[in-house]
Structures are given as C-alpha cells and as structure tokens.
C-alpha cells in the first residue's frame, strides 16, 4: 500500500507542536534485529496528533518508524528486562503484533501511557465537540443576562441593536450571519460596553473557519464525558497498579484486579 511518506515525514518535522516526546526502548518491531543483551534499542519518540514517530536521536531529521494510534489500546506490559517500565500499543487486528516500549521511569511511563491512550482523532473530536456546545451555552446565558439587565438610559446603543439581538436569541443560531452586521456597526460607532458583546464574540476565527453553524465534529461521535470517564478509569487502574508495584516491587505484577 502506498502512503504519501514524504508529506508524513514533513509533518513529523514540522513546527506544529509535538504532543509528547522522549526516549523509549523498543523490542522486536519488525525489521529490527534483537539486541544480544535483551535491553532493547533506545530511540527518540515524538507523538504528534495521532501519529507516533521514532528517530535515531533527539536531533534526528528522518523518522525511522510510524505508528498510527487509531483503533489501538495502550497497556502495561512485561519487558524482557525486569527493571524497565514497559507498555505496549496493541491493535485489535489479525496478524498485528503489539509494539512493546519501555520508559526510563514510572513517571515517564505514566505520562506516555496517558498521552498515547488519548491520542486518537476521535478523542480530540469529542473534546472539540464538547467545548463547542459549552461555548454556545455560555454565550446564550451571557446574552440572556445582558438582555434582562438592559436599560435604555444606561446604554448608548440604539434600540435597533436590541431588536437585532433578540432575533439572535430567538432563532437560537448564534453562528448565523444574520445577527452580526447591525450589531457590529452600532458597536463600532458608539463603543457601548456590554450590549454588543455577544455579537462581537460571534465573529471569532473559528466561526469563519467553520462556516455557518458547521461543526468540525461528526454527528455520530458519542458523549465526551462518558468517554472521558472511561479513560479516567483506565488511568486510575494504571495508577493503582504503579503504586502497588512501587510499594511491593513484587516480581509478578498480576495484582491489579485484587481490591
């Protein structure tokens, strides 16, 4: 299968922010010969969005490997060497082996597991969708507040502006274009505080970027807080496990399901 590898490599090195990075050890990804000592090989890993890249070193300019973090889970794992803080990226697909990785300490391990398990596009989409609806709610309640405390004597705005604004509230469609021009002109002219706020706020870059009332989020994504709780539970479990491991340092780490 073809992939636009040059663009992928370009994205790996682009100045858009990395979501996590650090050294990890790795074993047995296809193509790498096993190391005689069993300690794995140490590479520089960079997480960018839903893509995990590895490089020869921190200054490496050529990504050596790519893992797309979709449809996978991140689990604690046993490393060939006991003192490593290992975890695995597992895919639920036939013939796909887990990627076994190990961090240099428990904190780094926790941070990597957290970052990787939340790296999917779907997670990002749910956060965006949740914030989008929170912003709509916040703007609506703000608009209502201003509306109820509005007094003609306290304001320099013309009643027109107010009428215009009730249209905004009634049609409940704050990203619609119909609500902006009068309000904006009024405000620019009179510099009145408060009343024009909601209108002005509507003109943010994303509302232009997204077009009218469009969301970057597809309708079938499920509720964010449910998903967040779900991830949260997983992380709580991991934390418990780490604490037990730190306390007991037991050779086997199968204790996590006991109370």
């Amino acid at each position: 299968m073809k992939l636009n590898e040059r663009s992928v490599a370009h994205y790996a090195l682009s100045d858009s922010p990395a979501d996590h990075m650090g050294f990890l050890r790795t074993w047995g990804s296809p193509g790498t010969p096993p190391t005689p000592s069993g300690t794995g090989r140490r590479y520089w890993f960079v997480l960018k969005g839903n893509l995990l890249f590895s490089f020869e070193s921190r200054k490496g300019r050529v990504p050596l490997s790519l893992v797309v973090l979709e449809g996978c889970t991140v689990e604690l794992a046993e490393a060939p060497v006991p003192e490593e803080f290992a975890f695995a990226i597992c895919f639920d697909a036939p013939g796909v082996h887990p990627h076994l990785l190990a961090a240099e300490g428990p904190a780094a391990q926790e941070a990597w597991v957290k970052a990787l398990s939340r790296a999917s596009f779907g997670y990002m989409r749910l956060v965006v969708r949740e914030l989008e609806s929170q912003l709509q709610d916040a703007r609506q309640s703000l608009a209502l507040q201003h509306h109820s405390s509005w007094k003609p004597t306290a304001s320099c705005c013309k009643p027109q502006a107010r009428n215009n604004r009730s249209v905004v509230l009634e049609n409940g469609h704050p990203l619609s274009k119909d609500c902006s021009p009068v309000g904006l002109v009024e405000e620019a002219g009179s510099r009145c505080a408060g009343l024009g706020l909601a209108e002005r706020e509507l003109q943010g870059p994303a509302s232009l970027l997204l077009g009218r009332g469009q969301s970057p989020v597809s309708p079938e994504t499920s509720n964010f807080s449910t998903l967040h709780d779900w991830y949260g539970q997983e992380i709580m479990k991991l934390q418990q496990h780490w604490q037990q491991r730190a306390q007991g340092r037991q050779p086997e780490c199968e204790e996590q399901d006991k109370p």
């Binding site: 073809k2 922010p17 596009f121």
Partner: protein, 149 residues
C-alpha cells in the same frame, strides 16, 4: 520510514466519514484518471480499486491544501511540494463541495486550532478554563503557545 501496512489496512476498514467512487489521478506525469473508491477515515484518505478489499494507497491529510479545480473537480496537494497534486473528479458540483468541506476539516491540526479557539472563547465568557473539569488543561496539545501564528 517503517510502518505496518496491516495497521493501516485495519484503519481503512473503520467507519468512514465520507466514501464514494470518484475519478482519481495521481501526481506523476502522464497519470490517467482512474475509478477509485475513496474513503475518508479520521485524518487519512484511503483509495481502493473498485473490486479490491485492501486499499491501493493512503494520504495523510496533515498540512495539505484542498483546491477547487475545473467544475466538479478538486485537488489535494501538500505544503512541502504544492505542485504535486492528486486530482479528483466528482459526479456533481455538489458532491465536490461536500468532499472539499470534509477534507478541509479532516486534520488533527484543524481540530487542535478549533479546540484552542473554543477554549479561549469559553474562558473569555465564563472566566473559567473548560478543560480543568476534565483534568486535561495542562496537556501540551491544548496550549495556545503551541499554535502557529
């Protein structure tokens, strides 16, 4: 760059945001228009021969540009080499618009920008950081400083 094809193939079987048979022409000189099943899954665009289960190829849609070409057609190019264009031919102008719209929103970096925008706007209106309630306000990917000008 090593990657596991099977992982990408598994991704190509995930539910698609958009899928349709379109005419597709690669960036190489002399490429001809071929009928392909084109499938948008998260930030990857997969293309299949119409009689095959596994995709012929995939395009990662980060740092790409979606451009309207002749009526009913659009192209995808990537910032590092904007002259290399993948052309797509739709069956109607409407379908073309729909695809262009979906492709422009199909990048992680677009999501990141939207998220940071909403976070800031909510903070302006309510005075509170909406990400705190989920315990993810410190994450690097949600920081404003990470945003390119």
């Amino acid at each position: 760059m090593r990657y596991n094809e099977k992982e990408l193939q598994a991704l190509s079987r995930q539910p698609a945001e958009m899928a349709a048979e379109l005419g597709m022409r690669g960036p190489k000189k002399g490429s001809v228009l071929k009928r392909r099943l084109v499938k948008l899954v998260v930030n990857f665009l997969f293309y299949f021969r119409t009689d095959e289960a596994e995709p012929v190829g995939a395009l990662l849609l980060e740092r790409c540009r979606v451009t309207r070409e002749e009526p009913g057609t659009f192209s995808i190019s990537f910032v590092e080499d904007p002259e290399r264009k993948y052309h797509f031919e739709c069956s109607s102008e409407e379908q073309c618009q729909e695809w262009m719209e979906a492709l422009r929103r199909a990048s992680y970096e677009f999501m990141r920008r939207s998220l940071i925008f909403y976070r800031n706007e909510i903070q302006k209106v309510t005075g509170k950081d909406p990400l705190e309630q989920f315990g993810i306000s410190e994450e690097a990917r949600f920081q404003l400083s990470g945003l390119q000008a």
